[in-house]
């Protein structure tokens, strides 16, 4: 790696430094826009005791779900975890802890974490189990709860294209949580479909500026579809 060139050539290099008990923030919504190869590398490394922050936890045998197979995740922070039988089993047996977080609050926790804002007030969750034990303050006549933001030791991100400097663009709704995740990792690793040269992506169309990105790797993706629904032509 020289200068701003962030491209690495192996998954080992991409995830080097990940250790037991670290916090990993992962982009993706369901199975859409997930860094498949980086998840595979975490599985291969066998690190355990992880706290994983992601909207969902994959499905049995795919996505983040594979990290449950060897009990690598100790705590999951997510908004919805309903697609995964192994998750359910480990949750009920107490091997896995889950912190359910409203989806918008989760996105904002990552955004704020990456933006250097340690906490924020939101009306979301006030008066519900999510608000229990949290500081309440009234703004404009309405109660809000104080939500701490989130940063991670690692952020794993899936982008469509990145240039060598780490400037990224996302494709369609595979964007989702990825731009926020990218800002919130001490080490942010982006797995992409295509690596291009600096200048190939017009500067004003870049979604994630390279300053947030530490490593870029070209991956190959299965892009499994969770619910295929069609209409007749």
């Amino acid at each position: 790696m020289a200068g701003f060139d962030k491209v690495v050539s192996s998954y080992e290099e991409a995830m080097a430094g990940l250790e037991d008990n670290m916090t990993v923030i992962a982009g993706g919504f369901g199975l859409c826009g997930i860094p498949e190869g980086l998840i595979g590398q975490i599985k291969k490394m066998g690190v355990t005791g992880l706290t994983v922050v992601s909207n969902n936890c994959g499905v049995d045998g795919f996505g983040l779900g594979v990290l449950l197979e060897d009990r690598q995740i100790r705590k999951m922070i997510a908004s919805y975890v309903g697609e995964n039988a192994l998750f359910e089993k480990q949750l009920l047996s107490g091997e896995l802890e889950v912190e359910l977080t409203p989806q918008g609050t989760l996105a904002e926790k990552m955004r704020a974490g990456g933006a250097g804002i340690p906490a924020f007030y939101t009306a979301t969750g006030y008066g519900t189990p999510v608000g229990e034990g949290k500081e309440v303050r009234e703004f404009n006549g309405r109660p809000h709860i104080l939500e701490p933001s989130i940063t991670g030791d690692f952020a794993i991100v899936k982008a469509w294209k990145a240039d060598r400097y780490g400037n990224c663009i996302y494709r369609h709704t595979a964007q989702n949580f990825n731009p926020m995740a990218a800002t919130a990792g001490k080490i942010t690793v982006v797995e992409v479909e295509e690596i291009v040269e600096p200048g190939d992506i017009p500067p004003s169309q870049i979604h994630t500026p390279g300053i947030y990105v530490n490593r870029v790797i070209k991956g190959s993706f299965e892009k499994r579809i969770e619910r295929k629904v069609t209409r007749s032509a």
Binding site: Y80, Q103, T173, R231
Partner: protein, 218 residues
């Protein structure tokens, strides 16, 4: 007669105004997209980051990178925009989405809603529901008026853990359309052939019936 799921969705769609931005939850709310009245245009927001959700794709159009909040394959309509989850919930939390339609287990006369958690059963998560009920200007809840044992879901006080407080204005059930204000359910319309008496019987919370209550028109 009690309305079918499709009829509830049809009645919901009559509430849509031309030029509205609308978020539809999973289930009956999603069906409402099929009944948008002629001559009006609405734009559907999907909270995973799509404003201007189009129909499901044809087999040829399927794209794994193009899904809705229900994780189904979908298309974007002309004039759509795609953005991050933070941007999506800025729209929702910031009050820019005009109408949210979602299902519920219970609603009470103070506008509280319970829709995500039944103690003792496995909790899968609230997804975006808490953000949506905290942020939308108008929230329509669709549900059956009573559960399958005949117990009312329109209560004086929710018994289940809440999704949001003091946020629901309108409910469309299989029996009636009601508005919540002044800590009471106000009966606005009846399903065709359903009597005020039956609605009273199946509404556990405070129900206000003002004069003749018209039947829904389809």
């Amino acid at each position: 007669m009690a309305l079918s799921r499709e009829q509830i969705a049809m009645r919901v769609a009559q509430e849509f105004k031309d030029g509205s931005y609308i978020n539809l939850g999973i289930g009956i709310p999603t069906l409402a997209a099929n009944y948008v009245p002629d001559g009006i245009t609405v734009m559907l927001q999907s909270e995973n980051g799509l404003l201007g959700m189009g129909p499901y794709p044809t087999e040829e159009q399927i794209d794994a990178d193009m899904i809705n909040a229900g994780k189904e394959t979908v298309t974007a309509s002309t004039g759509a925009s795609i953005f991050s989850s933070a941007e999506s919930f800025a729209m929702i939390r910031g009050g820019h989405v005009d109408i949210t339609v979602l299902g519920a287990f219970e609603v009470d006369q103070n506008g509280n809603i319970a829709s995500w958690m039944i103690p003792g059963k496995l909790v899968k998560g609230m997804g975006g529901a808490m953000d949506l009920v905290a942020g939308a200007k108008n929230i329509i809840v669709t549900m059956t008026h009573a559960d399958k044992h005949g117990n009312s879901k329109l209560l004086d006080q929710c018994t289940l853990p809440l999704t949001g407080v003091n946020c629901i204005n309108r409910i469309i059930t299989d029996l009636a359309m009601l508005e919540i204000r002044d800590n009471a359910f106000h009966l606005l319309e009846r399903a065709p052939g359903v009597t005020v008496e039956e609605i009273k019987q199946k509404t556990a919370g405070k129900l206000v019936v003002d004069g003749d209550v018209p039947e829904m028109q389809f």
